[in-house]
């Protein structure tokens, strides 16, 4: 296997690990960690999608010739945006977890099921 594909394997592993946490972990905080893991995996995938072997950082004034030696800036902008969104999501989820613990006295997702049926 080409060593350049290794990051994609890591990204896939991160997503799978995150899904594992979502499916089998019962603690709310671990579920939030699972979401963060999936997000990290997707972000890693996005950055890798724009990488060129041996490419330079995409800085306008340092643009190399030929310009093909620069890594793509667009996926980096996308990743950045997605990180910002992830920050807001994680903060919101954690504050929900804080208040759920205050109301229900537990962080076990199996016991937080008043809304069913």
């Amino acid at each position: 296997m080409n060593i350049g594909n290794f990051p994609f394997v890591v990204a896939a592993l991160l997503v799978v690990l995150g899904l594992y946490a979502l499916l089998f972990k019962r603690n709310l905080i671990k579920i939030v960690i699972g979401i963060s893991l999936i997000e990290t995996g997707v972000n890693l995938f996005l950055v890798m999608a724009g990488y060129r072997t041996g490419g330079m950082a995409p800085i306008y004034t340092l643009a190399p010739t030929p310009i093909r030696d620069m890594v793509l800036p667009t996926p980096q902008a996308l990743t950045l945006t997605s990180i910002v969104i992830g920050l807001a999501t994680t903060a919101l989820l954690l504050s929900f977890a804080v208040f759920i613990h205050r109301h229900y006295g537990t962080l076990d997702i199996q016991e937080i099921k008043e809304l069913n049926g």
Partner: protein
Amino acid sequence: MSKGMSVIVRTVTRCVYGMILLYGFYVIMHGHLTPGGGFQGGAVVASAFALLLVAFGAAGIKGHLNRHLLQTLEEVGALAFLALGFLGIGTAFFYNLFAGTGGFFGAPAGQLLSAGTLPLMNWAVGLKVMTGIASIVIVMMVGRRKEETE
């Protein structure tokens, strides 16, 4: 927890606090030239606030970081960003009005005062992010403290 952490942590915090702030503002100001920008710089600045909060505790920083002021500044940052977008509406929303005009912020690419409205947008975003993250950290910290007293 409200008493903060040990003398070593507090002293180190005093030493590096200014440096973190300086680095954060550097990242914000050079957002249009180097990797980084408003969000990253703002997050760095907010991490300095978080460090203060951890080292000195919620009681220790009372009066230094006003949550309501932070939240108002966050709205101002967001409004400033939108206002910069509206500035270009004579042509198109977000049109870069000042770029390449030779005046203020119109210098050739690569200088600090270049790229038109982009550095201004970075400042606005930086202001929003630093105050926003700081107020999230403070709210979570204060919420925790209240829970402990209950």
